[in-house]
């Protein structure tokens, strides 16, 4: 497959591209869905495709195809080069500086570091094992329902192996393989007023033997679903928010989107003049760590081939960097950093969610969001939320149909506590977070 990428680069150069980068991927996915005592869906496939970035006479196009027949590929590249020639020249477009590639990729050698992204036993997982896991997920969920509230349980077991190969005309060649496994359980329950709330639990890992017990995932799903019964709409009020680890990553993602070079250059960010300045409380301390063994976001090079390295994103509340790729770096006249984050690493606190709830005393514990959005240009956001009321340091009634609204530049300074519980099933790895004085809309 590396040869296909190399041939595409070579052919693009023959057709008139001064520079080209080609990536080939192949992935195999198997996923099963099990519902209420029987198999519902089995999906199994191997998929592949090719993407090529073309730099022709100062012009740029990015094209992809999954029609890999030789004659089709050749005509595809001819058309793509012709397409590139029709648009305007852009002096800022070029491949990254080869000095930014790791030495091994410049020499077309295998990577010297193993991030343990691939489970060597991937091919050993059998259809029967997947089916057994799906059944255990359902059974453990049903065991947690003593009052017969469950309407339906859907569970899922999936795994995939993803391989990719990338070649750049200015001296870059690298391959990457990774596996991942996921378990999930969705539980719907009957409420007395006709509502049928559902909740879920998911868990994933790059290694099969590192997945949590299916029993615990099923138990968590039913516990969460039963917790939704009898939910009420809260009164509108300013409250302390404890945001659970599985929800908090979304708040951080809204803060980080406007840190891109494109947002900065296009003036679509409320962080435009904030580099080096405080935008949050000193507890907002987040680093990017690409080298976590078995991490979902781990990598040796970023999406452009630039050598990965650990970075400080937010230094005790101060904005330390933007995510600047080669193109927007040249447009902005600054050196590129990296095109996006890998694995995040928060400076953790000492309490888990229940400890933070006890400390908060009164407020709202947010376990999930429902719609809403965040304006990258101004920092205003408004998000539907659900969760539980907090009274006397304990969880009280479940809350639904509520909404929170704020502006990031005023919100993050009111981050008053960080949990010790980074969410393990996402590269965001964000712990539970506590914010003071947030407007909650309800009745």
């Amino acid at each position: 497959m590396l040869q296909i990428a190399a041939r595409a680069v070579e052919r693009a150069r023959q057709l008139g591209a001064q520079q080209a980068a080609a990536g080939v991927y192949r992935s195999r996915e198997v996923s099963i869905q099990w519902r209420d005592g029987q198999m519902e869906k089995v999906i199994e496939a191997t998929s592949r495709g090719l993407g090529v970035d073309l730099y022709v006479d100062g012009r740029f196009a990015s094209v992809s195809t999954c029609d890999m027949r030789d004659e089709a590929l050749d005509r595809f590249l001819q058309d793509a080069v012709a397409l590139t020639r029709t648009i305007a020249a852009d002096p800022f477009r070029q491949l990254p500086d080869p000095q930014s590639y790791p030495q091994w990729a410049r020499r077309s050698e295998p990577a010297p570091i193993d991030l343990e992204l691939e489970d060597p036993d991937y091919a050993q997982v059998t259809a029967l094992e997947r089916r057994e896991l799906a059944e255990i997920l359902e059974q453990s969920a049903r065991k947690g329902d003593s009052n017969g509230a469950i309407l339906s349980v859907t569970t899922s077991v999936s795994d995939s192996i993803d391989e990719s190969w990338r070649v750049h005309s200015n001296g870059f060649s690298a391959a990457r393989r990774g596996t991942s496994y996921w378990l999930g359980a969705d539980v719907s329950v009957q409420d007395v007023d006709g509502r049928r709330p559902e909740e879920a639990a998911y868990a994933g890992s790059r290694f099969f033997n590192q997945l949590p017990q299916a029993i615990s995932v099923g138990q968590l799903a039913v516990e969460r679903a039963l917790g939704r019964l009898g939910s009420v709409k809260p009164a509108s009020a300013v409250q302390t928010l404890v945001v659970d680890q599985r929800a908090s990553g979304r708040l951080l993602a809204y803060l980080m989107g406007p840190m891109s070079g494109a947002a900065l250059q296009q003036k679509r960010t409320f962080l435009g003049e904030k580099l080096g300045q405080s935008i949050g409380s000193p507890l907002l301390h987040v680093q990017d760590d690409p080298f976590v063994k078995r991490g979902f976001g781990s990598r040796l090079v970023d999406s452009e081939g630039i050598e990965a390295k650990p970075r400080v994103i937010l230094d005790q509340g101060r904005l330390s960097m933007f995510f600047i790729d080669t193109y927007y770096g040249r447009k902005l006249g600054v050196p590129p950093t990296t095109s996006g984050s890998s694995n995040l690493a928060w400076q953790l606190g000492s309490l888990d969610a229940m400890g933070l709830i006890a400390q908060a005393g009164e407020g709202l514990y947010v376990t999930g969001f429902l719609g809403g959005n965040s304006n990258a240009t101004t920092g205003d956001f408004s998000l539907g939320v659900q969760g539980f009321a907090i009274r006397n340091g304990k969880l009280a009634e479940p809350v639904a149909e509520a909404n929170i609204a704020d502006n990031h530049l005023q919100f993050w300074p009111r981050l008053v506590a960080v949990g010790n519980d980074p969410y393990p099933y996402s590269s965001m790895r964000t712990p539970s977070l506590v914010f003071d004085k947030v407007m909650v809309a309800g009745t």
Binding site: I43, V63, L83, S382, G384, E401
Partner: protein
């Protein structure tokens, strides 16, 4: 009306697809006792051009070609797909899908026939014949005119996308259906600055249209809308907090229907009894002013289809009539479960995806009231004109949608703009509270995309001006 079956085979013949290959796939698919099988061949090319900082300086093309093979046994589905259309690869993918069943092989069809398929989005020139050079002036015109429209505009970006997708679906009953689906989306966005404050907004148009749809008038309209929607944001006051009357403008307010009821009526959720509308067929679920349809037949609409992705006829389905629930949205599997005809809602993102019940163009029919009368009836509330996105919990019924532009209503008048506020409610409760419906139905022409189980499909939505007596407005006060 061309012979759909022969037209489809002729089209896909260029990729080596013929009846022999279809029989090979179906034979393997049915080799383990599956009750039903289908092969979904797809070819598509998507092109887009981007303008940034005054120049059309980026171009993108994506080509998709492959087949998805489904085998059904009872409520169970096996699925495989491949981009390799050699007989060996198709057979391998079909055998994978076949493994969902476990029994003796079944007969596969030797001959195929097609139903007549309507033609709801003919275009004069296919997008593959439109040279990229012809499109450049459209992007440049939008950029120049937007910058000229107001000195506060700092940045303009334009994205011009078009695609041609063709599919041929052949099933174990010997049916073949073929459709050619054009699509285009033109998006204009801008950033403006005033007194050190920045705001951004935009406008987009989408449809199963050809290049000639982008007339000078239409482009002018886009510029006017994008600039007005952006400038309005500078005058916005903080949105209010809590429950209050909400008036939804005619057009894209159809997002309320999409979230509050559309998803909940997708029959797969009801078959599994996990929708809040399960067991509600024939019952009152909305005020008697409310009649809602899901329509595949609108000329050139983004959500229109000639035939669904399972080869079933797609028409206009009445979901709710005068508040009474009339029908769910069905694919073949749910229709079989309920013993009804499929409603032509079996859709999928691509050959890599299993079809399921999805919306097409969902809208509320006009009612007896007048727009001005509705605004005048509200003492304190908000009027919502433009929307960004929405979401729903199928079982609990809670949903929300994000209002990008709106107005405060004070003493029956639109007073000051509001912006960036999420509205949240419960589907059946909100539909009961629809107490005024105007006579001004508008089908929105925006580039709406619906997501479900990780699959995206294009949809349309529409609405007359509507008053909801109370919904929670998530402002900051």
């Amino acid at each position: 009306m061309a012979d759909n079956h022969l037209e489809g085979l002729a089209y896909f013949g260029q990729f080596g697809i013929d009846e022999a290959l279809i029989r090979t796939g179906l034979q393997a698919a049915l080799s383990r006792g599956g009750e039903f099988a289908d092969l979904f061949f797809q070819y598509g090319q998507a092109n887009s051009l981007g303008l940034e900082d005054g120049e059309v300086n980026r171009a993108y093309t994506g080509v998709e070609l492959g087949v998805g093979i489904r085998v059904v046994r009872g409520d169970q589905t096996g699925y495989g797909y491949t981009e390799d259309l050699s007989p060996q690869a198709v057979r391998r993918a079909a055998l994978t899908a076949a493994a969902v069943a476990d029994g003796p092989a079944r007969d596969f069809p030797q001959a195929f026939s097609a139903d007549i398929v309507p033609s709801r989005y003919p275009i004069a020139r296919p997008w593959s014949d439109v040279h990229p050079g012809e499109k450049l002036p459209v992007l440049q015109r939008l950029s120049i005119d937007t910058l000229a429209a107001d000195p506060r505009i700092q940045k303009v970006s334009v994205h011009f996308a078009d695609s041609s997708s063709a599919f041929l679906v052949a099933d174990s009953q010997g049916r073949i259906a073929f459709d050619l689906q054009p699509m285009t989306v033109l998006s204009l966005s801008c950033v403006a600055e005033q007194d050190g404050r920045r705001e951004s907004n935009g406008f987009n148009l989408a449809g199963r249209q050809g290049f000639d749809w982008y007339t000078a008038e239409r482009l002018q309209y886009m510029v006017g809308q994008a600039v007005a929607r952006t400038m309005q944001l500078f005058d916005a006051v903080p949105a209010p907090v809590g429950e209050m009357p909400v008036v939804l403008a005619a057009g894209s307010s159809g997002i309320l229907l999409h979230e509050a009821i559309g998803h909940g009526l997708e029959a797969d959720f009801n078959r599994k009894k996990v929708s809040i509308y399960s067991d509600k067929m024939g019952k009152a679920i909305a005020s008697d002013l409310v009649t809602i349809v899901d329509d595949a037949t609108l000329d050139h609409a983004r959500g229109s289809i000639d035939v669904d992705d399972e080869g079933n006829a797609a028409g206009c389905t009445t979901l709710v009539e005068k508040g009474i629930l009339q029908s769910y949205l069905h694919d073949s599997m749910s229709a079989r479960h309920y013993g009804v005809q499929p409603t032509g809602n079996g859709r999928r993102e691509s050959f890599r995806h299993v079809p399921m019940p999805r919306m097409r163009a969902t809208y509320m029919l006009a009612g007896p009231h007048k727009h001005d009368e509705i605004i005048a009836s509200v003492k304190k509330g908000i009027y919502c004109t433009n929307f960004a996105n929405g979401q729903v919990q199928i079982g609990a019924g809670d949903f929300s949608f994000y209002v990008k532009n709106g107005w405060l209503i004070e003493d029956g008048k639109l007073t000051r703009p509001v912006k960036d506020v999420n509205l949240i409610g419960n589907g059946p409760k909100v539909l009961e509270k629809v107490d005024m419906v105007a006579d001004d139905l508008v089908i929105d022409q925006g580039g709406w995309t619906c997501g479900k189980d990780g699959q995206s499909v294009p949809v349309s939505q529409g609405m007359p001006t509507v008053r909801v007596a109370a919904m929670t407005v998530g402002g900051r006060g």
